[in-house]
């Protein structure tokens, strides 16, 4: 559209400044958790030396879904329909397998109107980082309950929520997700490290990030508030992402068995430093158990809940040609003239 920003300031290995990963100024509320997440996406991509043109962004509808315009101006993006980003992205990723997709959704967009599509996208292992900016409330339509709102939540114009909440991580696991993580927008470092790990994962990466709505759902005692999150966050581990070939430097002295390493497809590694709980993110049963335990104990467990790098992604299942499909020419796409007679002969 317009010429890219002139590089000023510090550059990364591909010669881009952080500025070149930014988007337009946010139009969300001051202090919205979503802005913090957008900033961590910018930092993660900058630090990973990602080429902005290699990223493609998707979103549904809602406050969360506005945010793709607030990062990565040089990346293509498509703001689709409410609850229907899953299918939009599924179709688009076939065009060029080398693109990395980032989808931004919300709790209403994913867990209410988009639940069906979400689960099918997950079970197909669509290669995409799928971030749910989860605040338990519909912000853009001014404060209605979402499907992730906790029982008993009292909202100004809505009264009390009587229904059990949907746990997005649980739904993702049940649908055979290959990467499931939960974080808290107030824990910027963890958000960033998880985004980096997710970008290195080949299949679907579901990141459920509790992202408080400062306008409609930020009472101190509510599950999706900053205060509650800060008081109740129970990180499973300290997470560090190290790109391929990077030297691993761990601060402090770690006794054997306190660090767990998980290798990703592109040669990068996730290092999980054990905190209070000994948690194995390669066990699906363990992940279910942890989520169940968290619910009972009122913990906001954060960190990498589950990872499985053995499953093929959607595009891998299709055995596509190496050239991006959207660069194939007529000679690749239109069968030859000679085949026409054969086809006619195949009819009766």
């Amino acid at each position: 559209m317009t010429a890219p920003n002139v590089a000023v300031g510090q550059t990364n290995k591909i010669g881009l400044t952080k500025n070149e990963y930014r988007g337009l100024p946010s139009t969300l509320c001051q202090g919205c958790g979503h802005n913090s997440i957008a900033n961590q996406i910018i930092t993660a991509c900058y630090e990973l030396d990602m080429v902005p043109e290699n990223i493609v962004k998707f979103s549904g509808i809602g406050c969360s879904s506005k945010s793709p315009t607030y990062f990565m101006n040089r990346s293509f993006g498509f703001n689709g329909l409410h609850g229907r980003m899953s299918s939009l992205a599924t179709g688009a990723i076939f065009a060029d397998k080398s693109l990395r997709a980032i989808g931004i959704s919300g709790d209403g967009d994913t867990a209410s109107i988009g639940m069906g599509g979400f689960k099918h996208m997950v079970r197909r292992n669509v290669p995409m980082v799928y971030i749910v900016e989860n605040n338990g409330v519909y912000g853009l339509t001014k404060g209605q309950f979402s499907a992730t709102a906790e029982v008993g939540l009292n909202l100004k114009h809505q009264g009390i929520n009587h229904y059990m909440p949907v746990d997005i991580c649980m739904e993702a696991l049940a649908s055979n997700a290959t990467f499931v993580a939960r974080s808290f927008a107030g824990d910027a470092k963890q958000v960033k490290e998880l985004i980096k790990a997710a970008l290195s994962h080949r299949g679907i990466s579901v990141l459920d990030i509790i992202s408080p709505c400062v306008t409609f759902n930020n009472e101190e005692n509510t599950f999706h508030s900053y205060m509650w999150g800060k008081d109740h966050e129970a990180p499973l581990h300290e997470i560090m992402y190290t790109p391929k070939l990077a030297e691993i430097i761990l601060d402090g002295d770690f006794p054997e068995g306190t660090v767990r390493e998980v290798s990703l497809h592109d040669g990068s590694t996730i290092i999980l430093k054990k905190l209070e709980k000994d948690y194995d993110p390669t066990s699906r049963a363990g992940a279910f158990q942890m989520l169940e335990q968290a619910q009972v104990n009122n913990w906001l467990v954060t960190g990498l809940l589950y990872i499985d790098i053995s499953k093929p992604t959607l595009t891998e299942i299709y055995n596509l040609v190496d050239t991006p499909l959207n660069r194939l020419s007529e000679s690749d796409l239109r069968p030859s003239l000679e085949t026409m007679d054969k086809i006619n002969a195949m009819m009766f």
Partner: protein, 598 residues
């Protein structure tokens, strides 16, 4: 015996759904086609896997009229449940073949009866008991072959095609046919006038269905992505993609240049197709009416964000399940306005199986040229029934990928371009697709208000300007859509306008009206929307225009009234829908009746 009636009658076969009769019926149809006789076959089936009554109607027409006929000269009754009604449906002078275990008073004196020992002959067939019920249907094929003089070699070649050359299946079916044939030879005396004789009127034709043709057309159009959700009568279109794509579109190394995905619902099917179309793939989905309604939200977004996309609507009857296995042209206005706010769709209206192929590839050129969803309205009759048709013609124009800018194009422009800027004045703007690595290639697609640079805005002026440009683009579409086919004689005052699968009925109706009431008529077969000047000129050159269609409200008539209100006094809606393909008789009577009222 009365005077022979040769190659000019209809046969209806009444069986139980799911009993394997479809194989027997299509074998008969193909054998007649092989004998060179113009034919059509209509499967009138219930929404049911097994057990309900089903009918198959074959029309033989030495003169080449292949529309469905209401009158049945020959009825073959295999299903006890429907036998009484089947007996009543035989026209005077007709013939009633019946399975001899059906208990029914044979109380008509005006027709001929022939019993058939279907069960006993099937029992003696050399097949496993599991297959016995299926093969029983071949008994009536054999009896009909004998009594009507159908060539056994033609039947054999039909079986060979159906069973893809599998010797055992061909043999066991054929031996049952032969058993029926021999039994009839020894036990029945021909006393009816109906005869079949070989002709040479199917030379240069093939026989297939519209959905297969549509899928093949899409493949020759370079389809790269198709997402779909099962729905009668559209499922076989996507299934045909899965049959033919691996044969035609894999590299020598076995890699695919395409992807077909069965989605979780129609919302997702069109969502996927929209994503793929936006990202630069030749993208499509196929569905029927209920699926179209689910697709309307994405269709509206694709229209507004200008995404090329092809949507096949193989129309069926009514909402929900309605009459899911019957045919109609009931989605025209719905699709024309599909979306929210002001939308007008580009619609193609194939009238033959060959045209399903042609529009199958052309639709991609149109969609990419116009950067908009292009809808193709077929119907169950065209899509699922076997038709004799001209062979598929290889595309005669190169692919038109429309206005797409790649890296080198952007370099030449120094990166200066705007996604929604009408540079050429035709309403069609330039686009880039993801994967273009030029630093100024990207833009953010959205349904939200946007300016020429695809930037978010809720300002009044850019919103209205954009809508006006989309209208201009729709005007440009008139230059690209397939023109109508017109059969016109100087001085004729009556013009018929119709579209889609009703062509055969219209052509025959014109013949009938001329013969029986001296009523001469011209015919315009509309092949696309928007309405073009040629259509307006045709209308203007006639005093009265009869718009014939298979729906209740006269949907094309509604559109013509809206687009050409100055001609509204010429329009006479001639619409009818009962789930069955229109007959020539009905068309002729409906027009004649309106003419008499004048």
């Amino acid at each position: 015996m009365a005077q022979k009636i040769i190659n000019n009658f209809s046969i209806t076969i009444a069986t139980v759904n799911g009993s394997g009769s479809q194989t027997a019926n299509v074998t008969l149809l193909r054998a007649l086609f092989k004998m060179g006789i113009p034919i059509s076959g209509k499967n009138l089936f219930p929404s049911n896997i097994q057990g309900l009554p089903t009918w198959y109607t074959i029309r033989l027409s030495k003169d080449g009229y292949t529309a469905r006929r209401a009158q049945q000269e020959i009825v073959v009754a295999i299903n006890p449940t429907s036998a009484a009604r089947d007996l009543a449906s035989v026209c005077p002078g007709g013939v009633f073949f019946y399975a001899d275990d059906i208990k029914l008073p044979l109380n008509r004196k005006d027709i001929t009866f022939y019993p058939m020992p279907v069960k006993s002959l099937a029992k003696s067939a050399n097949v496993s008991p599991a297959l016995r019920d299926y093969i029983a249907n071949m008994v009536y094929v054999g009896v009909l072959a004998k009594m009507l003089s159908i060539d056994l070699e033609a039947i054999k070649s039909a079986l060979n095609f159906h069973f893809k050359g599998k010797a055992q299946a061909i043999e066991s079916n054929f031996s049952t046919i032969k058993a029926g044939f021999d039994w009839a030879e020894q036990n029945l005396k021909k006393i009816d006038p109906y005869m079949i004789q070989p002709m040479d009127k199917t030379k240069g034709y093939i026989m297939t269905d519209g959905n297969t043709a549509a899928a093949l057309g899409a493949i020759y159009g370079g389809v790269q992505f198709a997402a779909w959700y099962p729905i009668t009568p559209a499922s076989s279109l996507a299934e045909a993609l899965n049959v033919y794509l691996p044969q035609l579109r894999k590299t020598p190394e076995g890699k695919q240049t395409y992807a077909v995905l069965q989605a979780e619902d129609e919302l997702a099917a069109i969502g996927m197709a929209t994503g793929a179309g936006w990202a630069g793939l030749r993208s499509m989905t196929s569905t029927s009416g209920p699926g179209i309604s689910l697709m309307s939200e994405y269709a509206g977004l694709a229209y507004q964000s200008e995404v090329p996309l092809v949507v096949w609507d193989v129309q069926r009857v009514g909402p929900s399940t309605g009459l899911p296995t019957r045919t109609a042209q009931g989605d025209l206005t719905g699709v024309y306005f599909l979306g929210h706010g002001d939308t007008q769709s580009v619609i193609l209206l194939p009238g033959s199986v060959q045209e399903c192929f042609e529009f199958g590839w052309k639709a991609f050129d149109l969609a990419e040229r116009l950067q908009t969803p292009v809808f193709i309205l077929s119907d169950l009759d065209l899509g699922m029934n076997q038709w004799m048709t001209r062979p598929f013609k290889y595309p005669d124009t190169p692919m038109d990928r429309g206005k797409v800018l790649w890296e080198t194009d952007l370099e030449k422009l120094n990166g200066n371009w705007a996604r929604y800027l009408d540079k050429d004045g035709d309403g069609i703007t330039y686009r880039t697709v993801p994967g273009n690595r030029h630093p100024s290639a990207s833009y953010f697609a959205r349904g939200t208000g946007h300016d020429e640079n695809a930037r978010y805005t809720e300002e009044a002026v850019p919103w209205e300007a954009n809508l006006a440009r989309l209208k201009k683009k729709y005007d440009t579409a008139r230059k690209f859509v397939p023109p109508p086919l017109i059969r016109k004689t100087a001085g004729v005052k009556i013009g018929i306008i119709a579209y889609g699968s009703t062509e055969a009925a219209i052509e025959e109706a014109r013949f009938l009206m001329a013969r029986e009431s001296g009523l001469k008529s011209d015919f315009l077969r509309l092949r696309a929307l928007p309405i073009t000047k040629k259509v307006a000129d045709y209308i203007e050159s006639h005093e009265r225009i009869y718009i014939v269609e298979s729906n209740r409200d006269g949907q094309l008539c509604q559109i013509l009234n809206a687009v050409l209100p100055e001609h509204a006094n010429r329009f006479h809606s001639t619409a009818h829908t009962d789930g069955l393909p229109l007959t020539a008789q009905w068309v002729a009577e409906a027009i004649t009746a309106q003419e008499k009222k004048l």
